[in-house]
C-alpha cells in the first residue's frame, strides 16, 4: 500500500511537470504561429482590389505607396513610374458623388458595372472596391497584390494597422518607444536604486532597515494601474508645467513611472547581494586601514557587482514588459521618438489597447501577436543575461 502510494505520488509529480511544460510550449507555439501568419497576409485588405484604367502601366505599389496615394500625399502617377497624369482615387463611399441613387439601384445592383465603366473612362483613376463587385471580363487593370514583407514590418516606421486599403505594420516606432522608455527608466532608477541599496545594506541601523525593507518590498505589490493613475494625476501635469509641454503625456512620464516601479526590484536584489558580501572581505579591508566608505566602494560593491547587475537587469525586464501604467501616461503616439518629452507608444501598451478592436484572424490581429513575439524575445534575452551573470557569479564564488 505504502509503495503504491509512493509510486502514485511520483507519477502525479511527473505528469504535472510534463503537463505544465507542454502548456507553456503550446502557448509559445501559438504565439509564434499567429505572429508568423502576418507574413502570409496580403498587403491590400482581404476581398478588395485596386482597379486601374487599361492604359495605366503601373502594376506594383507597396503598402506605404498605397496609403500615400489614398491620403493624397502622392498625387501624380509619374511618382510611381507611370505617365504624367494626376491620380484620382475612388472609394466605394464616393459612389454617391458620381452616380445618382436611381442609377445605382435600390440594392446597389448596378454599382459594379458603373464603377467599372467609370474607371475605364478615366485614365488617372484608381478604385478601391470589393473584388466581387467588379463584373467579369471588365476592361480594367489591377494592382498586383503581394504578401506583407518582413522588411516593411520590422524596419517600417509607420504603424497604421487599421488604414485602408493597405494597413501599415511598421513596428520600429513601437520597438523604439519600448526601448526608449525602458532605457530612461533604468537611467533614473539605477542611481537611486543603488544608493538606497547601499544605504540599507551598509549605513542604516537594524531598526531602520527592518522598517524600510518591507516598505520598499510593498511597492512591488501595488497594482500597476495604481501607478499609472498616480502618474496621470501627479507626474503628467507636473511635467506639462515644468517643461511647458502641450501635453504632459510623454516618454518621460512613462520613464518616471517605470523607474518607480523598477526601484523595489533593483533595491531588493542589490541589497541582498551586498549583504551577502562575505564579512571576511570587509574585515580584511578594514584591517588594512581602509575607511568604511573605501571598503564599500572598493570591496563590497565590486564583489557584489554581479548581484547588483542581476537586479538592474530584472528591473529592465519589469520596465520592458510593463503595460498598464505606460499605457496610461505615455500618450500612445506611434511615432519614432526623437525626444523623451514627446508622446510615444510601447509594444505592451499597443497590444493591450488594440487587441480588443482587431478582428480575430485578420492581419491586424496577427501583427499584434508578432509584437508579442518581439516582446518575448526581448524579455527572453534579458532573462538570459540574468542567467549568465548569476552563473558567472556562482563560478566565481566556488
Amino acid at each position: 500500500m505504502k509503495r503504491f502510494l509512493e509510486k502514485a505520488v511520483k507519477w502525479l509529480l511527473t505528469a504535472s511537470g510534463f503537463v505544465t511544460s507542454a502548456v507553456i510550449l503550446l502557448i509559445i507555439g501559438f504565439l509564434f504561429t499567429e505572429g508568423a501568419g502576418l507574413f502570409r497576409e496580403k498587403v491590400i485588405e482581404e476581398g478588395y482590389v485596386l482597379a486601374l484604367n487599361r492604359e495605366n502601366p503601373v502594376r506594383k505599389m507597396d503598402a506605404a505607396q498605397i496609403k500615400a496615394v489614398f491620403d493624397e500625399d502622392i498625387t501624380n502617377w509619374s511618382e510611381l513610374g507611370g505617365p504624367d497624369l494626376p491620380i484620382e482615387t475612388f472609394r466605394l463611399e464616393d459612389a454617391d458623388d458620381y452616380f445618382s441613387e436611381e442609377e445605382l439601384g435600390s440594392q446597389y445592383e448596378n454599382a459594379g458595372s458603373l464603377i467599372a465603366s467609370l474607371v475605364a473612362s478615366r485614365p488617372g483613376m484608381v478604385a478601391f472596391v470589393p473584388e466581387t463587385l467588379i463584373p467579369e471580363g471588365a476592361d480594367l487593370n489591377f494592382i498586383e497584390d503581394s504578401s506583407i514583407s518582413p522588411a516593411e514590418v520590422f524596419a517600417g516606421s509607420e504603424w497604421y494597422p487599421t488604414a485602408t486599403p493597405a494597413p501599415l505594420f511598421g513596428m520600429w516606432p513601437l520597438l523604439a518607444g519600448t526601448l526608449w522608455v525602458s532605457f530612461f527608466a533604468i537611467l533614473f532608477a539605477l542611481p537611486f536604486g543603488i544608493s538606497i541599496a547601499v544605504y540599507m545594506a551598509e549605513v542604516a541601523s537594524e531598526r531602520v532597515r527592518n522598517f524600510l525593507k518591507p516598505v520598499i518590498e510593498l511597492l512591488n505589490g501595488i497594482p500597476s494601474v495604481v501607478y499609472g493613475f498616480f502618474g496621470l494625476i501627479v507626474i503628467v501635469p507636473l511635467l506639462q508645467q515644468v517643461f511647458g509641454l502641450p501635453v504632459g503625456e510623454s516618454g518621460l512620464a512613462g520613464s518616471l513611472v517605470l523607474a518607480i516601479m523598477a526601484l523595489p526590484t533593483i533595491v531588493t536584489v542589490a541589497e541582498d547581494a551586498m549583504r551577502n558580501c562575505p564579512r571576511s572581505l570587509r574585515e580584511a579591508s578594514l584591517a588594512l586601514g581602509a575607511t568604511k566608505w573605501q571598503t564599500i566602494s572598493r570591496v563590497v560593491i565590486p564583489s557584489s557587482m554581479s548581484g547588483i547587475a542581476s537586479g538592474v537587469v530584472l528591473g529592465i525586464g519589469r520596465a520592458v514588459g510593463e503595460t498598464m501604467a505606460v499605457l496610461m501616461v505615455t500618450g500612445n503616439a506611434a511615432v519614432v521618438p526623437t525626444s523623451i518629452l514627446e508622446p510615444l507608444r510601447t509594444i505592451p501598451a499597443t497590444i493591450a489597447a488594440e487587441l480588443g478592436e482587431a478582428p480575430a484572424g485578420g492581419a491586424h490581429y496577427q501583427s499584434l501577436f508578432l509584437l508579442g513575439v518581439i516582446l518575448f524575445f526581448i524579455t527572453f534575452f534579458i532573462n538570459l543575461c540574468v542567467e549568465f551573470i548569476s552563473s558567472r557569479n556562482r563560478a566565481k564564488n566556488s
Binding site: E206, P278, L281, E283, S285, A287, L288, A290, Q294, R298
Partner: protein
C-alpha cells in the same frame, strides 16, 4: 622595550563578560602566542589591538590598551591610522576578488598612495617578504582566487605587510591549511619577527612552541599564565596550564 601594554582589560559582549581583568605586556620584535581552548577569549583579546571589535554592536571595553605608549582607545585616535600600523591576518585566507597585484596594492591605495612606481616596488618587496614572489611573479594580474589556499594565506600576509605595520596580528593563520603550507607560514613568521611584533592566536600547541618567544594561556576569559614559551611548555607554574598543554582537556 614594551610594544603593547594591556592594563586591566575587561570586555563585554552585551551582558557576557568575555575578558576578565587582563594585564600583559608584549615586547617589541617578539612573537607572542595566545593559546587556550575555544571560547576562552584569546581571539577577542587579539582583536582589541586593532579595534576590530568596534564593529560588534553592544560590545564594551574597560581598561586601556597602549601601543607605543599611546592609548589606542583614547579620544582623537584615528581607527584607520591605527589599523595601518597594526596589520592582521585572519583564520581563513580572505583575498579580495581582485588580481594578485591589486590585493597587495590595496592597502597602499586606500591610504592615499598614488605613486605607481612606489606601489609596484612595494608589492614586489612584500611578495618577496612573504616568500611568494617566485611563485606569482609571472601572473601578478591573475585572480587571487586562482592560488592555492596556502598561497592565498601568504598573499594575505604580504598584503598586510605591504603597508609596513609595526605590529602583525595573526588569528589562527594556519588552521585552514595543510601541513606543508603551515610549515611555510611558520617559517615566514620566524623571518618577519625582525620587522614586526607578532601576536599569534593558535590552537596548535606545537605551533606555539615552534614559533613563539612568549606564550599566554587563556581560560574562561582570564589569562591564566604568561611567560617565556620554554617555561610554559616545560615547567608551567599553574596546574590548569599543565593540564592543557599535556592534553588533559581542551
Amino acid at each position: 622595550m614594551e610594544k603593547i601594554e594591556a592594563k586591566d582589560v575587561n570586555f563585554y559582549y552585551g551582558d557576557f563578560h568575555a575578558l576578565k581583568g587582563i594585564t600583559m605586556e608584549i615586547p617589541e620584535h617578539k612573537v607572542v602566542a595566545f593559546i587556550g581552548p575555544s571560547g576562552c577569549g584569546k581571539s577577542t583579546f587579539l582583536r582589541l589591538f586593532n579595534r576590530m571589535n568596534d564593529l560588534i554592536p553592544g560590545a564594551r571595553l574597560e581598561g586601556s590598551i597602549l601601543i607605543d605608549g599611546q592609548d589606542i582607545y583614547g579620544s582623537g585616535v584615528q581607527v584607520d591610522e591605527l589599523r595601518k600600523n597594526v596589520g592582521m591576518v585572519f583564520q581563513r585566507p580572505n583575498p579580495f576578488p581582485k588580481s594578485i597585484f591589486d590585493n597587495v596594492a590595496y592597502g597602499l591605495r586606500v591610504n592615499g598612495i598614488k605613486d605607481k612606481e612606489f606601489i609596484s616596488h612595494r608589492v614586489e618587496e612584500s611578495l618577496k617578504g612573504a616568500a611568494l614572489w617566485n611563485e606569482v611573479k609571472d601572473k601578478l594580474n591573475a585572480s587571487a582566487y586562482a592560488l592555492s589556499g596556502g598561497q592565498q594565506q601568504r598573499l594575505c600576509i604580504a598584503r598586510a605587510m605591504a603597508v609596513s605595520p609595526s605590529v602583525l596580528l595573526m588569528d589562527e593563520p594556519a588552521s585552514a591549511l595543510d601541513p606543508i603550507s603551515t610549515a611555510k607560514v611558520e617559517e615566514l613568521i620566524c623571518e618577519l619577527r625582525n620587522e614586526v611584533t607578532i601576536v599569534i592566536v593558535t590552537h596548535n600547541m606545537q605551533q606555539a612552541s615552534r614559533v613563539s618567544d612568549k606564550t599566554a594561556f587563556f581560560y574562561m576569559g582570564e589569562m591564566v599564565e604568561y611567560d617565556d614559551t620554554k617555561v610554559i611548555f616545560t615547567n608551567p607554574h599553574k596546574e590548569a596550564t599543565q593540564n592543557y598543554i599535556t592534553g588533559r582537556f581542551g
